[in-house]
Symmetry: C2
Subunit: 401 residues, 2 copies
């Protein structure tokens, strides 16, 4: 039987670094089927993806993935622990033998050592973590503080680096879920996550997006050189057809309207809105003149930029605490966004023992209503005629590469 | 002591017909103080006013009113009975001696006869009304049917005419509230309410708005000739400063987003959403490509265009049944939007026995929160910098002409 290797991705958009990662993962794992679990229209860092999930999934199967599964919204737009939990649950269900993630470290042993140390010092770690959060530190910062308590030397990995942190969570979830998945890691070839300059041929997705949004109708050569030709073609076509890329600024007026016409008790029902942040959100909304200025007005030590963006995503999509809690209790549905012939073969071979696979929004897809609502929010910034067109994608069979 | 005459208005925008009405009302009533009760940013027919209430109130005091009081949202955006009730409550509180309304009939005796007949045939009238509504007729149509049951000859006024219907409700409310107010009426000099062509010098507000919205940056001579110079100047200035007039089409995307991300149980809490219309609203939202097409998709025999527009207004402003029911139990606050020296003198003379007057949104104005929310919805279509500027008007003292 074919063996599969999993990757956990966002592809916003798919670039040379992603291609490199896929190729390395395939050779390292010796798998013949590559399965990507990919965030949908909103991403882990609480942002709209610049183009929708259907277009991103199509690119992924054209560029080396054999199956693209959607990581459901209620796992995708979450801090790294839940994000990892959702992805590993899906990969376990699909029977992958390995998981290959990019990391700043690149040393899988360093991850294992860190996990072992945390597990051996569980009590100290958890106490330090709780204390750090109590003192008003953000979630990632508190993890770093707790880790420093149990590591005296620098043998630990730097979980201040976002991909190291995610990798650690993946391995932790593999343990927690008793998944028979071998973790592998590759040192990221592209420039740093937060880099804003483009360094060829591996520019970061952040720098690519920045460059994309600041040029009007043609793409700079340096963007084109840092991604497959098909990505730049798709981006160009998407913007031409739908009239825009999806950025927070494009949603600003909608979001501001939504907050200014909601009372505090409604905001408090929204996932992520805790500890009185609703007062601050409403107060700052009155003076905000752009998404950027709003975020600046809102920021505190406790809330990272990312966690605030996640809150805004849930406000935009009107996702409540109650709904998320309910969904997290259920088995995540496996929704295929795109696949290749190899992918189809793999799924046929592994049908037995796997929960139902969903190929479109048609009944009885359990996340149908949620998916429609999230899509409505996501496509709300495009012309209504094109919105109808874009939403029809949810009812088509998955793209076959 | 000075005597006052009341008028109940929307001034959307103030035109020659309104000026004529004010002058006639002043001479007919022999009052030295003219008090207008005016809808705020949203109107009785369920539409945004093309310019905001502060600009409209200012125009009104420059053109013949001595005091402009805001009719609260929860009375203004209602069918004619509640609209009339709110306005008469306020005029009674302010101690006006007369009320002068424009009507298609122009004969006050015809109104009195109609009221008398209804009161004498209360039972038949109410039964016919209920039956007609049950059969799926709209509210105005049902009133006409009930009236036809008790009038065999044509001595009754035609309440199919919108201003006759409103006049009838004013007089009914004067009776119900035991208000010592003498009703007067003037035959409307302007063209019919629904006329779409401009007939000088009295064009209807509808035809003026239509013409305004279809010209770009200059006003046609025929519009200018049908309104005081100050109105056209104000309109021009408003559009220049805020970038737009307020029309339903400008709110379409916001409204569609709002509906498509709300579930049915949330929509059902909204004032006016009854009898399962929420299903129809959500279903049609998916195919709507403009406000106009949405309304066409939504229309049924039961729901008039006006009643559907009122529902959309409450959805846009997120006004719930519960909130409206609560507010209607309270005494409507008297909020002064603008006045003249004569108006101020009148209010000084009549202070005793009058409830507190409110001059701005500052505490303890009881409708402060509601007013901020409605304003947020109203100004949501203008640039955020100008929105901040526009909202500050709520905290300034009333305009003094």
């Amino acid at each position: 039987m074919m063996q599969a290797c999993g990757v956990i991705v966002e592809y916003n958009p798919f670039h040379n670094g992603h291609k490199y990662h896929l190729e390395k993962a395939r050779s390292l794992s010796k798998a013949s089927c590559m399965i990507a679990v990919m965030s949908g229209n909103f991403l882990q860092r609480g942002e709209p993806a610049i183009i929708d999930k259907y277009h991103r999934a199509k690119l992924a199967t054209e560029q080396g993935c054999d199956i693209v599964i959607e990581l459901p919204y209620y796992y995708a737009v979450q801090h790294s622990e839940l994000f990892a939990m959702g992805a590993i649950k899906i990969l376990k269900e699909l029977g992958v033998h390995s998981l290959c993630f990019g990391s700043e470290s690149g040393e899988i042993d360093a991850f294992h050592q860190t996990i072992d140390a945390i597990e051996k010092n569980q009590f100290i770690y958890q106490e330090s973590l709780k204390n750090a959060i109590k003192k008003g530190n953000s979630y990632p910062k508190s993890h770093q503080i707790a880790l420093n308590r149990i590591f005296t030397s620098d043998t630990s990995i730097d979980i201040g680096q976002p991909n190291n942190m995610l990798g650690l969570q993946y391995i932790k979830q593999i343990h927690n879920l008793n998944a028979n998945i071998k973790p592998l890691t590759i040192k990221r070839a592209q420039s740093n996550y937060h880099d804003e300059t483009i360094s060829l041929p591996f520019a970061s997705a952040t720098s690519i997006r920045r460059s994309l949004l600041h040029t009007d109708n043609h793409f700079l050569q340096e963007i084109q050189d840092s991604m497959p030709k098909m990505t730049s073609k798709t981006l160009e076509m998407y913007k031409k057809q739908y009239g825009c890329f999806h950025t927070w600024e494009a949603y600003f007026k909608l979001l501001q309207y939504n907050v200014l016409t909601s009372n505090e008790s409604v905001l408090r029902t929204i996932h992520g809105v805790n500890e009185g942040i609703e007062h601050r959100i409403i107060r700052t909304a009155k003076d905000a003149t752009s998404f950027q200025t709003w975020m600046q007005l809102l920021k505190t030590k406790r809330y990272t930029w990312t966690s605030l963006q996640r809150i805004f995503t849930h406000i935009l999509t009107k996702t409540t605490k109650e709904e998320v809690q309910q969904k997290l209790l259920e088995t995540p549905p496996i929704r295929i966004l795109s696949m290749t012939g190899v992918g189809r073969q793999y799924l046929n071979d592994h049908k037995k023992g796997t929960n139902q696979l969903f190929t479109s929004n048609k009944n009885p897809f359990p996340d149908k209503e949620l998916d429609e609502r999230i899509s409505s929010a996501y496509y709300s910034i495009i012309d209504s005629n094109m919105m109808i067109h874009a939403k029809k994608q949810a009812y088509l069979p998955p793209y076959m590469a």
